[in-house]
Chain length 358, copies 2
């Protein structure tokens, strides 16, 4: 079209060029209308993308940049991780080294990361958009409320879907990991008169924390007395104040244990999830403890909960959590809420089946 | 231009219309080039904005939408807050009600939210972009490491900038609020022989947790014995094992207290920040406890730290934290890191001066 030269043109050529020019004008206008300012909202969407994300954009970009750092599947870079040259670098799992964790250390003994349920990482990566949490700088600055009612609600939904615990007419208390709840419930169940401390027992082999915490606190109200079965054969529980830990299912044999002593009983249900054992029906015990670490693999989120039938016991456990540390961090509660929402999606199927398909 | 009619036009009119049309073509082309595909990167930036944020975009949009809900300055909507019709709604502060918290309850007694340092919310809102945290669903799923080395580093930087504590050659342990550290350090400092429990004391008026925690744990290793000064007048500390809490500065009078008994001493420095008291110089005590709640107003983040000179004491405190709850949630540690980075920006001036300018 730029080759059209007015002076040499005949009138009809001029007319054709003019029509072409007009046509280009019309096409340009349509293009500008639809692509730039158009009614389909392309421009609006693009502008919204920039203008709707204001304060969270920088943090989101940072998080995605760190997540994109490759560590060869043998490590991970973190937002609060090691820094080199101003940039986060890979933190390699045991036995691996190098800037991208691709170097296997010769002669390294495996199993150094045992106990960490990192095998669930891929599930959370596949569900990245639904489990990401954005926390503002001013999120829940107050002490109150100690426990999120939304989170309480989702924990109840979770149990109802999985069918592993009755929560109706029960109280729920959150703890810093189920570990903190172990000592909180021993406190709540044990004697308050130092003249006759309660006996804390568990059947061997038992989780080391049952004993170690009791020794740590060295309370006048309770003392650890070892194996429940052995103790039973040497004692009568008549007139004895006993608190028994029952790990059900037991680790590592998966046995659904029952109380031996039939006194005050704490059901440690950390592993009572379909990925570890078939669920015969909802547990209806007076005091049940669950842990996020075993359910979703988030051991780094210190979060557990106790489901409690008796109101007085519930109030004592709550008092313990409040006095010991003023409750659970609000950021932790928000993150747990997000994680549980994904775990129970579609009746829990994608999450619970992930273990089977792996 | 659309009024030009070919049939009735003279040649020069046609020429003028043609030139106008060409000019429009050129202008349209330039507009399309710069505004849509242009070399200044407008389009690229818009496309990047959408394509570079993948998994974090949804969470970021959610967080900003909740933050934009107006609660009249008398409440706040939260991501994990109350829901109505599928949407988060305002949670009103005491004495306020209505969907946007604009209704003042008649005859309501004020001060129901006392103790919550919400007056710092505006600072964190002004620094929203720097303090937002985006946490992926797979962030630090492992138990290890218990404590972030980056956060440890920033706590030391903070003290060096503020000049309120010596951290060189000291150990730092994180706790679930400074509250948990109070009992962890009493454990670490007290007698391990139950035959002679340590005496725990503090000068009146003292922080209620000093006593309440000691009573809660009812340990064989220590017992609370009330006012340090009164106790001193009735006892000799020769051959006595004492653990003394010194709140410095004291609350509410701000006095920089010193140890009365000069035995084992815990300096509770929760309020030892320039916004509460002039800092005469860095504290050089054997055992110092600080709290995030008092420094930045984040009472809802349960986080405190102890600075410890003696290695054995440090190891005992760490053991306590590990056994009691397996450390501090990784999400909490990440959030604290973000907050502290902003608090120490520009030598801490914007943050520390915020209190003065308010």
């Amino acid at each position: 079209m730029r080759k059209c030269t007015m002076n040499k043109m005949k009138k009809h050529y001029l007319g054709i060029c003019f029509l072409i020019s007009i046509a280009i004008n019309i096409i340009s206008s349509i293009y500008i209308y639809y692509a730039v300012d158009g009614p389909w909202g392309e421009k609006n969407r693009e502008i919204n993308c920039q203008s709707s994300l204001t304060w969270s954009l920088k943090a989101a970009e940072e998080a995605e940049a760190v997540a994109a750092i490759s560590c060869s599947g043998h490590g991970r870079a973190f937002l609060d991780g090691s820094i080199s040259g101003g940039q986060p670098v890979c933190e390699c799992y045991s036995c691996y080294g190098g800037t991208d964790c691709s170097e296997l250390s010769p002669g390294c003994a495996a199993n150094a990361d045992s106990g960490d349920p990192l095998y669930l990482e891929p599930f959370w990566m596949q569900n990245a958009a639904d489990t990401a949490v954005v926390i503002s700088g001013w999120h829940r600055m107050s002490y109150h409320p100690i426990m999120s009612t939304e989170l309480d609600k989702y924990i109840r939904k979770l149990h109802s879907i999985v069918g592993n615990a009755i929560t109706q007419d029960r109280h729920i208390v959150f703890g810093v990991g189920s570990s903190q709840l172990l000592s909180a419930v021993v406190y709540a169940l044990s004697s308050t008169t130092s003249s006759s401390p309660s006996s804390v027992l568990a059947s061997i082999p038992f989780y080391y924390l049952y004993k170690d915490q009791t020794v740590l606190f060295n309370s006048k109200n309770f003392r650890f007395e070892g194996d429940a079965k052995l103790w039973q054969s040497n004692n009568s529980i008549n007139n004895k104040d006993v608190v028994e830990f029952v790990t059900s299912p037991n680790n590592p044999d998966g046995e659904l244990r029952k109380s031996v002593l039939r006194g005050k009983t704490i059901y440690d249900h950390a592993n009572f999830w379909p990925q570890f054992t078939p669920i015969p029906g909802p547990s209806d015990q007076d005091l049940m403890i669950f842990s996020l670490a075993k359910l979703t693999g988030h051991a780094g989120i210190r979060f557990g909960w106790a489901i409690i039938k008796d109101k007085d016991v519930y109030e004592k456990v709550l008092k313990y959590i409040c006095l010991a540390n003023g409750g659970i961090s609000k950021d932790t509660q928000l993150r747990v809420l997000k994680v549980l929402k994904v775990a129970i999606k579609e009746g829990g199927k994608p999450f619970l089946n992930f273990h089977i398909t792996k």
